[in-house]
């Protein structure tokens, strides 16, 4: 179906099916989403919280909770490799992917979810960024900026070529929208979530080694370029997943802001991962609630909450480290005598 100017964005995306996914896993995911919905409805009825009585809010919370796990999970590795910008670059190429999806749907009259085309295009862009950096032997701001603007320009051109009906629905991709988290989009996100957490679970040690000390990792026999590619591909998946409620423009914030906050508080890498997920969950849950309450855009609200948490973490970190310094004076005096 083709979205027309009179179709609400919600309706335009809701009935889109997920092609290529066999019905068994789809049914299983659907069943899970239904049970989640039942649970939140029950909580809503018991507590009288109004927002929990809407189906789209159930899905928004589900998607938000999953994003708040996988975005900082990947973001922690990116930030500590000083690759925070890569999320932004991939988000803008994902926007081109959305435009491709909308274009194909309009021209061929099919119902491919724009998020699926976004995943494909963002993954291709991720590989391109990796290849560029391998050939030029460095990640640099310039190549990242070129990929970023190329993606956005391509998206803008495709959309304008197809003007009219398409331009209407584009806001939801730029800024995200709670109300457009359809059942099938929630399923796509669960799929992305499973892939991302599984891959990080299996390659955690290798990713950590490469992040901390790339040369030593190479000496230890790790195929560093390969892990870099895995990392950027996962970033592409996270970015597209999070785009649904965060929007293209703000999605990178989820990769960076909670991670930066956690780095202020954590001592170990595991603590940092955990703390960044907790901060992201807080930001998402509080952000979604506020955005429902005050009818503000969800992505923006979530980011503002995340930044507020970050500021809090910085202040707390300062208090912590000033306490530690007092302790360190004693400790280092002991060490000197020990040496």
């Amino acid at each position: 179906m083709t979205p027309s100017p009179t179709t609400l964005p919600t309706a335009g995306v809701d009935s889109v099916s997920v092609p290529g996914v066999t019905s068994v896993p789809t049914d299983a995911l659907g069943w899970l989403i239904d049970r989640w919905s039942d649970l939140l409805s029950a909580v809503g009825n018991a507590t009288g919280i109004e927002m929990l009585q809407y189906g789209f809010m159930h899905r928004a919370f589900l998607v938000g909770i999953l994003i708040a796990v996988m975005a900082p999970l990947i973001g922690t590795f990116l930030v500590h490799r000083q690759l925070a910008l890569i999320g932004d670059a991939l988000a803008h190429t994902a926007f081109a992917g959305v435009a491709v999806g909308l274009f194909v749907n309009a021209v061929l009259d099919v119902g491919v979810s724009p998020y699926l085309t976004a995943v494909v295009v963002a993954m291709i862009a991720a590989l391109a960024i990796e290849l560029i950096s391998e050939v030029t032997d460095a990640y640099n701001d310039v190549s990242m900026a070129i990929v970023l603007s190329t993606g956005f320009a391509l998206g803008a051109v495709l959309i304008s070529l197809n003007a009219g009906g398409l331009a209407v629905g584009i806001n939801q991709y730029l800024f995200g929208n709670l109300a457009t988290v359809s059942r099938s989009n929630a399923m796509i996100l669960i799929g992305l979530f499973l892939v991302v957490t599984l891959v990080v679970g299996v390659t955690y040690k290798q990713l950590l080694y490469v992040t901390f000390d790339e040369t030593a990792a190479r000496v230890a026999g790790l195929n560093v370029p390969w892990y870099n590619r895995v990392m950027t591909m996962l970033t592409a998946m996270v970015v597209v997943g999070a785009m649904q409620i965060m929007g293209v423009i703000l999605v990178a914030a989820m990769l960076v802001v909670p991670v930066a906050g956690a780095a202020q508080l954590a001592r170990s890498f595991r603590e940092a991962l955990l703390a960044s997920i907790i901060l992201a969950e807080l930001a998402v849950l509080v952000g979604i609630t506020l955005s429902f309450q005050y009818e503000a855009t969800a992505g923006g609200t979530i980011v503002l909450v995340a930044v507020a948490l970050y500021v809090g973490a910085v202040l707390l970190g300062k208090v912590q480290s000033s306490r530690e310094t007092v302790g360190d004076i004693h400790a280092s005096a002991e060490e000197r005598t020990a040496d």
């Binding site: 901390f212 040369t215 026999g221 001592r267 170990s268 890498f269």
Partner: protein
């Protein structure tokens, strides 16, 4: 057993070679210091030995196997100049860094209690077990280098390769650092040390390699002091630089 073989090796990032016609080998249990002026190809030589680059010409072997294709990666421990410059903000504890030495053994499996025990043991050997739960960025330069050595020990390395490990380490700790290396060598560890501090190399190692693109000297420290290798290696470099300026 021969740990390192370098045979007729030349290498350059561009057309002009950084390392030229170099031949030497390092046997098990040796303590070898590599000295030479800045830009003399010391670090490049290490990277060739570690298999990070393929030589343009010649053979580089680790434990009798070509080092590019070398598979027993855990047998080599690598300690570079302080890497924390790049990872200033990274929250990671000393224990977590040292545990990385176990990763080549563990592969995609889970880290077990045996791995943690070896990590603790390595931290004790280098004398920083009381700092295990500290953030690595909070350590002094000397303590950090000990942590990287502990990482190599945790990996059960037979060969320790160090690239100017004392850069940024305060003078007091440098002495203790070399004592640690002496101790490890006494326990049978093969050590290849690239170091800018010629005095320290002459004092601590059993064998000196002095190079500036080519190998100028290969022998015991006592002979090195009597030779004119130092003047030749360092002097030529000065002349080259003068010649390069238009």
């Amino acid at each position: 057993m021969t740990h390192i073989t370098v045979e007729d090796v030349s290498f350059g990032y561009t057309a002009s070679p950084v390392v030229q016609d170099m031949t030497f080998s390092v046997e098990e249990g040796e303590y070898v210091g590599v000295i030479g002026p800045n830009g003399s190809g010391k670090s490049t030589l290490l990277q060739l030995i570690l298999g990070l680059y393929a030589p343009d010409q010649g053979i580089v072997e680790l434990f009798g196997r070509p080092s590019r294709a070398f598979v027993d990666r855990d047998r080599v421990g690598y300690v570079a100049q302080d890497v924390t410059e790049n990872t200033k903000e990274m929250p990671i504890t000393v224990a977590e860094v040292v545990l990385m030495g176990r990763f080549p053994h563990v592969g995609f499996g889970r880290v077990g209690s045996d791995d943690r025990e070896r990590t603790r043991e390595a931290l004790r050997t280098v004398g920083i077990d009381h700092l295990a739960e500290r953030k690595i960025t909070k350590l002094s330069g000397g303590q950090r280098q000990r942590a990287y050595i502990a990482r190599a020990l945790a990996g059960e390395a037979d060969l320790l390769v160090l690239d100017e490990p004392t850069v940024g380490v305060d003078a007091e700790s440098v002495g203790a650092f070399f004592d640690l290396l002496d101790g490890l060598n006494d326990d049978g560890m093969t050590i290849l040390l690239v170091e800018h501090d010629v005095e320290a190399v002459l004092e601590h190692t059993d064998r000196v390699l002095c190079l500036n693109r080519e190998l100028y000297f290969d022998g015991p420290p006592a002979e090195f002091a009597d030779s004119d290798a130092l003047e030749r290696a360092y002097g030529i470099n000065t002349r080259q630089r003068e010649g390069a300026t238009p």
